[in-house]
Symmetry: C2
C-alpha cells in the first residue's frame, strides 16, 4: 500500500525532514519513534496509555507472535489491532533479527533459516515467504522484508554474501506480498562496508519498496562507522519514501538519525531501561534505586508533564522499585516513553521552524 | 475522630444495613470492600484506576510500611495519601497479623512482640504504642489496635490469655492514640470460642472505639464456627459504629457477612487470584490459562462493564498470562476488583430496596 508519504518541511541546515504518512489505522507524523510491543503489548502499558502518550505508531515482533500465540490465532481473532485493542498504526519486523539474536540454534540456508524456539526448543524454518505470510495474517500496517542481520564484527566476504542473499530474499518477499492495506519496507544490509551498503540500496530500489530501512546498525560497531553510513545513505534514497533506522537508539542517536534525514526509529531502550529503574531526564539519566532519592519529594524531572511526574515523587518511585511492585515498571515506562515521544515531537517542531541545528546544540548542552 | 457513621437503611429481612461514614478523605458508603494496598500500592493498579473502579476506601499494611520505606519517611513526605497519590479514605491495619504470619521469628511479651523482619532478618519490637505511632505518622483515616491474631486451632486457655492481652493492648492503643483526623477501631478476638468473643466485645465497648472489628476469622476454622460468630456478635455491637470483618473473603463470605450486619471487609483474594490468573464471573470462576480460552473472542464475563471486559478477549488475556506479560496482572486485577466492588454496590442497592435476601438467593443460584 502506498503510504502517501509527504515531506512537509525540510530543515535548510541539514537533511532533517518533517513528514507525514497514512495507514489504514491513522496518520503518522515523522520523525517518529516506535515503542516496542514485542508480544502484542508494550510491556506494562495499556493501549489507552499509548494513546495518552500520543503514540501514533508502535512495533510488534513477528518472531514472538509466530511462536506464541501463533499468527493464525491472531488472524482468526481479527488481526493484531483488534487482538491487542490498538487502533493506530503498527509495524511488524520480519523475525530476522530475533532468529539471529534469540533462537537457540540457527542454520542459514538459501531457502530460509532453520532455528530452535527459545521457548521450547522446537525446530522451525522461517523463510521470506513465511515471514510475509505471518505479517499478512497479523495485519500490520507496515511489514518488513526477511533479512539476515549481519553480526559485528564480520569479514567483507561474509557480509557481501549475506547482503546478496538478503537482496534475493527481498525479491522473494516482494513477490510473496499480496495487495492489502499493508506496506512493505526493504532493509539495507552491508555491515560497516559502505560500498556494500550502497550496492544493497541500489538493488532494493530496483525491486521498489514502500519504504527503506537500515538494519544491523548499533550492533557494536564503532560510532564513526555508523555515522559514515548515516551521512551517506539518506541522500541516495528517494525523497518520497520513509526511511527507517532500525533498533536505534539512545536519545543522542535519535537526534543524530533525524539530523541525517531518517523518519522512523524503534528501540527497547526506553521501556527496558524503565523496568531496570533507569530514567531519562532533560539533564541526563537517573537510577531510581539510588539512596539519594529515598527522601526526595521531587518528580523524576521537574519540567516533565508525563503521568508519572505530575503525580509521584522520586521517593515513592524508589519505594515501588525497591519493593519490586508492579506499578514501578508501569510508572517508569510511562515516563521514559513520554521522554522519547516528546523528544520526537520537539524535533518535528524544530524542523518545521527550520532551526533543528540550534535545537541540537541546546539539547547537547543540557545533557552535559 | 468520629466517623459520623449513619445507617441509612436496614434490610427488614435480615441484619444487613446500608450506611455511610465520613473521613478527611471523603465519604465511604457501606457495606464496602477495601482493596489491599500492602506496600502503599494496590498491586499493579494506579490510584486513577482505583478512582475509576469507584473504590472509596482501601487498606494498607503498617508492618510492611514500617519496615520499608519507614513511616518517618512517609510522614516527611506528607503522609500516605500524598505519598501514593490517593485522595480517598484509607485504613491501616496494626501490623499484628503480619507479625504473626510473615515475620521469621516472633516472641510475644506483655510489652509487645519481638520479631525478625522477613526482608533482612533485623530484630524489631512492635508494641501497641509503636503500632499507633506508625499509623499516626502514616496518617491513615482509620487505624487499628495492635492485637494478637490467634491461630486456629488453639486451646481455650491459650485463646483466653491471648484475648485478655489483646484487651490490655487495646487500652494502651486507646491511650497512645492522639486526637487527629484518624479514627481508631478495636479488634474482637477470642478464636472459635463464642463466650470469649463476647467477653472481648464487652471489654472493648468499655474502652470505646470508633468502630469494631472481628479478627482471626477465615483462618482455617470450620465454616460453622465462623457462622456462629457472625450471627451472634453484630447484635451486641452499637448500631452507630462501623463493623469490620477482617480478612474476609470469598464473594460468598462477603454476602454472608453483609447479611449479618457487617459494614467493612478486606481480602487479598481478588488481587492475588488475579495475578494467578483466576478470574471471578457471575457464573463462577475461570482459570485464564486453560487452553479452552486460547481462541475465545469473548470477554471474561459478557455481562461485565469493567475496563478489561469492554476491551479485551479471553484469548488476548490468556496470551498475556502465558507470556508472563506485566499487563496481564493489571487487566486481571482490574476485572476482579470490579467484580468485588460491583458486588458490594449491588448489595447496597438491594439493602436500600429491602430485598437483600431475594438478591442473595439469585446470587447463589447464578453461582451454582
Amino acid at each position: 500500500m502506498d503510504l502517501q508519504f509527504q515531506v512537509l518541511a525540510t530543515d535548510p541546515s541539514c537533511g532533517a525532514r518533517y513528514g507525514r504518512f497514512h495507514t489504514l489505522h491513522g496518520e503518522v507524523e515523522t520523525p517518529a519513534f516506535m515503542a516496542v510491543g514485542t508480544q502484542a503489548t508494550v510491556k506494562s502499558i495499556s493501549p489507552d496509555e499509548l494513546h495518552d502518550l500520543d503514540a501514533q505508531i508502535i512495533l510488534s515482533n513477528t518472531y514472538h507472535l509466530y511462536l506464541r500465540p501463533g499468527s493464525p490465532v491472531i488472524k482468526r481473532l481479527g488481526g493484531i489491532h483488534r487482538f491487542m485493542h490498538w487502533d493506530r498504526a503498527l509495524l511488524t519486523d520480519s523475525g530476522g533479527y530475533q532468529v539471529f539474536s534469540l533462537a537457540k540454534m540457527r542454520k542459514i540456508e538459501e531457502q530460509g533459516v532453520v532455528f530452535q524456539s527459545h521457548l521450547d526448543g522446537a525446530r522451525h524454518m522461517l523463510s521470506p515467504e513465511l515471514a510475509i505470510r505471518i505479517q499478512l495474517e497479523l495485519g500490520s500496517d507496515i511489514a518488513m522484508c526477511f533479512d539476515e542481520c549481519t553480526p559485528y564484527p564480520a569479514d567483507y566476504a561474509y557480509v557481501r554474501d549475506s547482503m546478496e542473499r538478503t537482496v534475493r530474499w527481498a525479491k522473494r518477499c516482494r513477490q510473496a506480498h499480496e495487495p492489502s492495506g499493508q506496506a512493505l519496507f526493504g532493509i539495507i544490509q552491508g555491515g560497516v562496508y559502505l560500498d556494500l551498503r550502497r550496492i544493497c540500496l541500489e538493488k532494493l530500489l530496483e525491486i521498489d519498496f514502500d519504504g527503506y530501512a537500515i538494519g544491523s546498525l548499533a550492533v557494536g560497531e564503532p560510532k564513526q562507522a555508523m555515522l559514515a553510513i548515516l551521512e551517506d545513505l539518506p541522500g541516495r534514497l528517494p525523497r518520497d519514501r520513509p526511511r527507517y533506522l532500525m533498533g536505534v537508539g539512545t536519545p543522542e542517536d535519535l537526534v543524530e538519525g533525524v539530523r541525517w534525514g531518517f523518519d522512523l526509529f524503534d528501540c527497547v531502550l526506553p521501556t527496558r531501561n524503565a523496568r531496570n529503574g533507569m530514567l531519562f531526564t532533560a539533564r541526563g539519566n537517573i537510577q531510581i534505586k539510588n539512596s539519594c532519592h529515598a527522601d526526595d519529594d521531587q518528580p523524576i524531572d521537574p519540567g516533565c508533564r508525563c503521568y508519572t511526574c505530575t503525580r509521584f515523587s522520586r521517593a515513592y518511585l524508589r519505594h515501588l522499585f525497591m519493593a519490586r511492585e508492579l506499578l514501578a515498571y508501569r510508572l517508569n515506562t510511562l515516563h521514559n516513553l513520554h521522554y522519547y515521544l516528546d523528544l520526537m515531537a520537539r524535533m518535528r517542531v524544530a524542523i518545521a521552524n527550520g532551526d533543528l541545528l540550534e535545537w541540537h546544540r541546546d539539547f547537547h548542552a543540557a545533557h552535559r
